[in-house]
Symmetry: C2
């Protein structure tokens, strides 16, 4: 049986991403501010792997099973580094000097939670603007049916992840669904919504990140430079992919 | 203490509408296709009240406590009238001849579920394009902090409810949040997203309803005329409002 034609469904936020929707699926996880940007940067800087954790406590548990010196604890709550952790959630911290060869146990508020839910997905890729073309090429090569899941922010849809999902759809040449919707389940508006937002705001990604709610918050607590970094399109060639619960360079 | 300035937060879909977000709040419920349109039409046609039910079984239970002859069962699954129910979920069915003086027990797939979750909200209004200006005036007169909740479709965000929420924001003169976001909870992107979608697609509401996923599905099963009706702006002056678990004409 031939693989079905390339398709992309877009899920607007974490609460919409029921496990039933992720199990056995080809998933692209998006958390532009900042987990998937951090993951791309950490692996590009030579980190061995990322272990996503849903909570700081789960991160510490995961770390307890690792060789001392082989790992770093990373993550944030409220945008700030978690007390006792080695690294926060700024991509600028994940330099080769800090992370080369290490496992990173990562507990962010939104993206890590979503990644931890993807353990039974068929494939899981981590997308940011930094590696958008690389991820698009990987998806196109694989073909078939994909779901792009926006992490959102504290249980709500956010602008920057939807714009990123829309840009992925555009890069893949996929419009929102059109034509008659034969079954109630068939047709979803996620990709249409994401593409419209990208068309409207994607022309200046840095400005879009300064405008969105989470960007304004990060700027207000001193992470303005992170926004510039998170807005950079196609500066990384790697495609982080989950395998056996860890995210590996790809 | 003066009432806080008028504010509108937009929640993109049912899974994002945790009860904690609704309890004690001023809520505007949106299910353009078709529950809140039906509710507006039924009450304008003289129905005494609407009793929202989360499931067909709950609708039958609610009905069992009512005087025979005093009520009608309405609602849909998969867009079709529920077997044994008197009415489906098409606004065109809710004529004065059918509904005048009756209680309507309504079980739709998305909007009724959300309305049933609003029982501890401070105020709950039902919004559609049909009564948009009337609802906006009521919200403006009341002032304070409001949350517009899009029902969405089968647990996912949908275009038409977001456009309607955006139009409400526009009518109230509220942009998405701007300026620094002082706390992580402060700033949400929902209104920004909704306003952008309304600016892009709100110029021709009937066309937008024919384009969105649920509209295409309804058209495919023969409910095309419903879309024209649901797209009509400001044809109703009533503001349906919840009181004691029932939605009353307002």
């Amino acid at each position: 049986m031939p693989e079905p034609a390339l398709g992309l469904d877009v899920v607007a936020s974490l609460p919409e991403a029921a496990e039933a929707l992720l199990d056995g699926r080809n998933v692209v996880v998006i958390d532009v501010l900042r987990a998937t940007t951090v993951i791309g940067q950490a692996l590009a800087a030579g980190a061995a792997r990322i272990l996503p954790a849903a909570t700081p406590a789960e991160a510490r548990e995961l770390a307890a099973g690792l060789e001392p010196g082989s790992f770093l604890l990373g993550g944030e709550r409220g945008g700030y580094r978690i007390p006792g952790f080695d690294l926060g959630n700024s991509p600028l911290e994940y330099t080769p000097e800090r992370v080369k060869g290490k496992s990173i146990v990562l507990a962010s508020t939104n993206g890590s939670v979503l990644l931890a839910r993807c353990r039974r997905s068929r494939r899981t890729l981590a997308l940011s603007f930094n590696n958008l073309s690389a991820v698009a090429a990987r998806v196109r090569d694989a073909g078939g049916s994909w779901v792009a899941v926006c992490s959102g922010k504290l249980g709500r849809a956010c602008l920057e992840d939807l714009v990123c999902a829309g840009r992925l759809g555009a890069r893949l040449g996929l419009a929102g669904e059109e034509g008659p919707a034969d079954s109630l389940d068939d047709a979803r508006d996620g990709l249409t919504i994401a593409r419209l937002l990208d068309e409207r705001l994607g022309g200046d990604l840095a400005e879009m990140l300064r405008r969105c709610a989470h960007g304004r918050y990060l700027e207000s607590i001193g992470f303005g430079p992170d926004l510039e970094r998170c807005a950079q399109l196609d500066i990384l060639a790697g495609v982080p992919e989950m395998a056996g619960g860890a995210i590996l360079p790809g």
